[in-house]
C-alpha cells in the first residue's frame, strides 16, 4: 500500500477539480515520480469505490539525460562561451573541457567565438560578442516545465536529432471521484477477528473486499459412487411406488431357478457355455422343492397347464448345474414360488437392483457383470394395459414420458414388450427396457392360482447412469479402473431432471 500521505494528497487534489485529473499531472503537481502515483491509484482502487480510474496512454516530449544536463547547466556552446576570458583561451585547453568539442563547433557556427590559429604560443580562442542568448537551454527548460507545446515541431525535431529530446508514450490514469469518495483513508482489515467482535471495533473498520472470482477451497469429504447414487434413486422410486425389495444377495444360483423354473428350455442358447458362467466348485445344487421340480420337468417335457410344452427329454443333471445368475429374475422365481406356498394368495409388488453375470465379450459398453433393475407385480386380473400403465408411471419418475412398446420374444414372458422412449437429443426412439407377462407354464407349476397374472420389467442400471453422467466407456464407471476424479466431481442424482 502506498503511503497514506500520498494517497490523501492525491485525494485532496481530486477533490478540488471538477471531472477528473490525469495521473501525470498529479505527479507533476506533487513533484513525485509518476510510478508512485500509479501505485497510489491502485491502492485507492482496492479500497472500493473511493475513486475510479481509467487507464489511457498519450505521447509526450521528455528530456534525455543530456537534455536535462543542458537545461540545468546551459548548452555546451554556452558553457564554452562562458569559459573564455576576455584575453582568450588556448584551443587545446578549451578542448579539455567536458563540453569542449561539441561546444566549440556550435559556438563557432553561432559566430560567438573565433579561432586565432597564428597566435603565438599556439591557436587561441577569443569571444566575438559581448553576450549571448542560450536558446537551446531555454527551449529545453520549456519542455521540462511541461510547456513543449510552445515549441514548434521543427524545433522539437532538431532537439530530438541532437538527442536532447525524445518522444515517449506515457501510460497514465484518468482519475475521477468514486461513489464513496472521501479525502481520508482508513486502513482495511483483511478478516473479521474474535477481538473485533469482542471489542466492537469492527464497526469502525473497513474490510478489504473479497475476490469473488476465485474458486473456494474444496471441502475435505468422501464421495458416493455415481452408479450407487443412481441405484439409490431407483430404489427410492420403487419404494415410492410401494414395491418391496427382494433378497437378491445370492450371486450363485442353480440352473433350475435361473432357467428351468422360468420355462427356459435346457437347449436354450442362453444356457450355453459361451453365455453363462458355470461353477466348478460347488458345481451342483443339491436341494430342490421335489414336487415343484417334478411339475417343472413335466411342463417342459410334456406340457400341461394348457401348454404343449417343449417336448424334449428334461434332465435333472442340467437343472442342478450351478452358475452365476444371469438375471435377477431367478430371485423373482424363488419369490413367486414362495408366494405360491402361502395359505392364501396376497398381491405383491417386488423389486430388486443387483448384480448379474454374463460370460460375454467385453467392450466399451459391456462388462461380464452389471446391475439389473427389476420390477414385478403379481395380482389377480392384471392386464397388458396395466403393465404399460405401471411402466408409464415408473418411467415418468425417471423423467421419461414418451413411451411406446414393441412386440418382442422372451422365453418366460408372453406377451413380451420392448420399451422404447423418444430421445430428444438423438431424435429417435431408443430401447430403454424389457417387459412382459410371465408365462402360465412358469406360474402354474409353482402353484399360483389360475387367475393370477404376474407382470414384470427390467433394465440395466449402468446404461441410464452412463447417459446421466455422460460416460462413454463403462470401465471408467464400474470396476477398479474407475476415474476417482470423476467420482469426486459427480453431481447428485435426480433422475427426473
Amino acid at each position: 500500500m502506498a503511503d497514506t500521505g500520498l494517497l490523501e494528497a492525491l485525494l485532496r487534489l481530486l477533490e478540488k477539480v471538477d471531472g477528473g485529473i490525469d495521473s501525470q499531472d498529479v505527479a507533476a503537481d506533487l513533484g513525485v515520480d509518476h510510478q508512485l502515483i500509479v501505485g497510489a491509484v491502485k491502492s485507492l482502487q482496492a479500497l472500493g469505490e473511493v475513486i475510479s480510474a481509467e487507464q489511457k496512454s498519450s505521447k509526450r516530449w521528455e528530456l534525455t539525460g543530456e537534455g536535462r544536463e543542458i537545461a540545468e547547466q546551459g548548452s555546451h556552446e554556452a558553457r564554452v562561451f562562458n569559459a573564455i576570458p576576455d584575453e582568450g583561451l588556448p584551443q587545446n585547453e578549451l578542448m579539455k573541457m567536458p563540453s569542449g568539442k561539441v561546444g566549440f563547433s556550435k559556438a563557432m557556427s553561432n559566430k560567438w567565438i573565433r579561432l586565432d590559429k597564428a597566435h603565438e604560443g599556439g591557436p587561441r580562442v577569443f569571444k566575438t560578442v559581448e553576450t549571448i542568448e542560450d536558446t537551446v537551454r531555454d527551449k529545453l527548460q520549456l519542455v521540462q516545465k511541461g510547456l513543449s507545446a510552445k515549441l514548434e515541431d521543427k524545433e522539437k525535431n532538431e532537439l530530438k536529432k541532437r538527442k536532447l529530446l525524445s518522444e515517449v508514450t506515457v501510460k497514465s490514469y484518468w482519475i475521477t471521484k468514486g461513489s464513496s469518495f472521501s479525502t481520508t483513508i482508513t486502513k482495511q482489515e483483511t478478516e473479521l477477528t474474535p477481538e473485533m467482535i469482542a471489542s466492537g471495533s469492527w464497526k469502525e473498520k473497513k474490510f478489504k473486499p473479497y475476490n469473488f472470482e476465485a474458486m473456494g477451497v474444496a471441502p475435505d469429504c468422501g464421495h458416493l459412487h455415481p452408479l450407487m447414487k443412481v441405484r439409490t434413486q431407483f430404489r427410492q422410486i420403487f419404494l415410492e411406488m410401494g414395491f418391496t425389495e427382494m433378497p437378491t444377495n445370492n450371486f450363485i444360483e442353480s440352473s433350475f431357478w435361473n432357467f428351468d423354473s422360468l420355462f427356459q428350455p435346457q437347449q436354450h442358447p442362453a444356457r450355453d457355455q459361451h453365455d453363462t458362467f458355470f461353477i466348478s466348485d460347488p458345481a451342483l445344487a443339491h436341494e430342490f422343492p421335489q414336487d415343484y421340480l417334478e411339475r417343472v420337468k413335466q411342463v417342459h417335457s410334456e406340457g400341461g397347464y394348457g401348454s404343449q410344452g417343449y417336448k424334449y427329454d428334461w434332465k435333472i443333471e442340467e437343472a442342478q448345474k450351478n452358475l452365476l445368475r444371469t438375471h435377477t429374475t431367478a430371485v423373482s422365481a424363488r419369490m413367486l414360488y414362495k408366494l405360491a406356498q402361502q395359505e392364501k394368495f396376497t398381491p405383491v409388488k417386488y423389486f430388486s437392483i443387483d448384480r448379474v453375470f454374463r460370460n460375454e465379450t467385453l467392450d466399451a459398453t459391456h462388462l461380464a457383470e452389471f446391475h439389473q433393475i427389476e420390477g414385478v407385480v403379481a395380482d389377480y386380473g392384471l392386464t397388458l394395459g396395466n403393465l404399460m400403465g405401471i411402466l408409464h408411471q415408473f418411467f415418468t419418475k425417471l423423467g421419461i414420458t414418451k413411451l411406446r412398446f414393441k412386440p418382442a420374444y422372451n422365453p418366460y414372458t408372453e406377451p413380451s414388450m420392448e420399451v422404447f422412449s423418444y430421445h430428444e437429443g438423438l431424435k429417435k426412439w431408443v430401447e430403454v427396457g424389457n417387459s412382459g407377462v410371465f408365462r402360465p407354464e412358469m406360474l402354474l407349476p409353482m402353484g399360483l392360482p389360475e387367475g393370477v397374472s404376474v407382470i414384470a420389467w427390467g433394465l440395466s442400471l449402468e446404461r441410464p447412469t452412463m447417459i446421466k453422467y455422460g460416460i462413454n466407456n463403462i470401465r471408467e464407471l464400474v470396476g477398479h479402473k474407475v476415474n476417482l476424479q470423476m467420482v469426486y466431481d459427480s453431481p447428485i442424482c435426480r433422475l427426473d431432471s
Binding site: G222, H223, L224, M228, T232, L239, E240, G242, F243, E245, N249, N250, F251, I252, E253, Q273, F277, I279, S280, L284, A285, G306, S307, Q308, N322, K349, R355, N359, E369, V377, D379, G381, L382, L384, G385, N386, M388, G389, I390, Q393, R404, F405, K406, P407, A408, Y409, E414, P415, M417, R439, P440, E441, S453, V478, G479, H480, V482, N483, L484, Y488
Partner: protein, 590 residues
Amino acid sequence: MPTVSVKRDLLFEALGQKYTDEEFDELCFEFGLELDEITSEKEILIREQGGEKAEGASDVVLYKIDVPANRYDLLCLEGLVRGLQVFKEKLEAPRYKRVSPADGGEPQRLVITEETASVRPHAVAAVLRNITFTQERYESFIELQEKLHQNICRKRTLVAIGTHDLDTISGPFTYTAKPPGEIRFKPLSQSREYTAAELMSLYKTDSHLRHYLHIIENEPLYPVIYDSNGIVLSMPPIINGDHSKISLNTKNIFIECTATDLTKAKITLDMVVTMFSEYCDEPFTVEEAEVVYPDGRLSVYPELAYRTETLSGDFINKRVGINESAESIAQLLTRMCLRSEVSGEGDLIQVEIPPTRADVIHACDIMEDAAIAYGFNNIVRSTPRTYTVANQLPVNKLTELLRQDLAAAGFTEALTFALCSEEDIADKLRKNITETRAVHISNPKTADFQVARTSLLPGLLKTIAANRKMPLPLKLFEISDVVLKDETKDVGARNNRRLCAVYYNKSPGFEVIHGLLDRVMQLLDVKPGRNQGYHIQAAEDSTFFPGRCAEIFSCGKSIGHLGVLHPDVISRFELTMPCSAIDIDIEPFL
C-alpha cells in the same frame, strides 16, 4: 435374435408396395420386427475388409431385419412377405397340404437303423415336387437352412438339414451310423472322395464347418445316409455328398433332417417345406415321405399338423385389457396367420394354429398375437389397483445408511467387480486359495473371472493402483457382497455383505482406520467394551504386517480384521505407500 437380410426391392416387389425406410421401419415395429440396418453387400465388404475388396460388389440395398428368436417362419424373404401380407390383410394365409405321390406311386422311404441310436437317433424327411427355382429363390432356400441351423437346430447339435436333388438318387434311403473309416464319399465342393476320418481333419481348418465337428468327433460311429445304390446323401451334421447336390435346375428335392431332438426336427422340416412349397407346381403342397424306425414303426412326414384351440373373447379382453367383440378378435388373430372364427357358443373362438406357428404352445401365445394385431400402442394404459406396502431388504437398508455416513466420514465409495482371479484373493493377499472358501468358475474366458471374490480388499487395492496419480491420502470404502462356499445352502454357497475400507498415504495411518472402526461402531450403536460392546485384540493374519493387525470382536463374536497391510501385499498390488485397511462382516448388525 436372428437377423434376416433381404434385398429391399425384391421385398417391396413381393409385398406389392413400396415403402419409405421410415414407413417400413414403422411396419416392422408394429409387427414385432426390427429394421436393424439398411446396407448393401458393398457397404458390408467395405466395413469388414476395406474398400479394395469391395470393388465391384453389389450395391443393391439390403434390409437387415431382426426377427424374434421363436419365429422360425420369418427367417426368409418368403416367410416375411407371407407374414406381413396376411398382417396387412392383403393375403389369406395359405393352407399347407401333405400329399401322396401324384402318380400313385410309393412315397419315398427313409429307413433308420439301430446304430444311429447312440449318436443321432431321429430322422424325418419330405419331398418338394416340381419346384421352380430362380437365382433369388435358390439363394433364399440355402440361406433359410443356414438360419434354421443357427437357431432352432442349435448350430446343428439338435437338428441338421440335408437337401438333395431327388432325380440323382433313388430310394429307399438308409440312415445308419458307421465307423469313420468305413464312410467314404465325395463331399460338396470337393473334387475327390474322402473317408469320414479324413474329412474331419480336412474341415479342422474350414472356417464354417469346423464349428460342427465336435458334435460327432468323439463318437465311435458317424451318422450317414445312403441311397439304394450306396451313394452317400450326407454325413449329418457335417456335410452333404456332392452327388446329390441341388442346383438352380433341380426340380424335385428330397429333404432329410436328422436329429437328437425329434420335436425340433419335425418343426425344422415343416419350416423348410412350408416356406418353399410356394414354388411347387401345386403351391403349398408337400409330398410325403415315410420314415421307418429300427423297431419297425413307420411315420409319415412332414407332419404339417394343424391344431385347434378354443378360447373365449373374454379371456383375450381380460388379459390384454381391451374390450373387443369375439368376431373382431377372431379377425385380429386371422391377421397373425391364426385362422380363427367364432364358434357360435357364447364368445368362444376357434383358433387354428398352422404348422408354421410352432411358437404358439399356449393360449397366452394366442393372446399375445391378438394384442400385436390390435396394436400394443392402441391399448389403453391403466394403473393396476394392486395395494401393497413397500419394505426394504434389511441388509440393503443398513448398507444404504452406512454408505452415506462413511462418505461423510471422508471416505470415497468404490464399486469393484464381484469376479476376479484366484491370484487376487489368494497369492496377492498372502493366502492359500484352499483356505478362502472361494466359489470357482468352470468356464472363464480370462483369468479375471476365475472366482467370485471372497474379500473386497483386492478390488479396493486395484482401484488405488489405477488412481495413483490422485493426491494422497486416498481413502476408499465399499460395502458389498463377497461369495463364500456354504454347505447349508441349496446351491452350496452364499453371499456375505461386508464393509471394507483402506487408507493409503505416506504413513500407514492405523489410527485413521481404527478411528473409522470406532465411528462405524458408534453409528451401529455398539459401545466399546468386552462383552456387550466391541473391542479389538492383537492377531496374526498373513495379509497384514506382523504386530500391526488386530481382530475385531463385537458382542464376543469375531467380525473382521483391521491393520497395516503386509509390504508384500502392497507391492503385489503394484502400490508403493503404506496402507491400512479394515474388513468387517456387517450382517451381525442386522
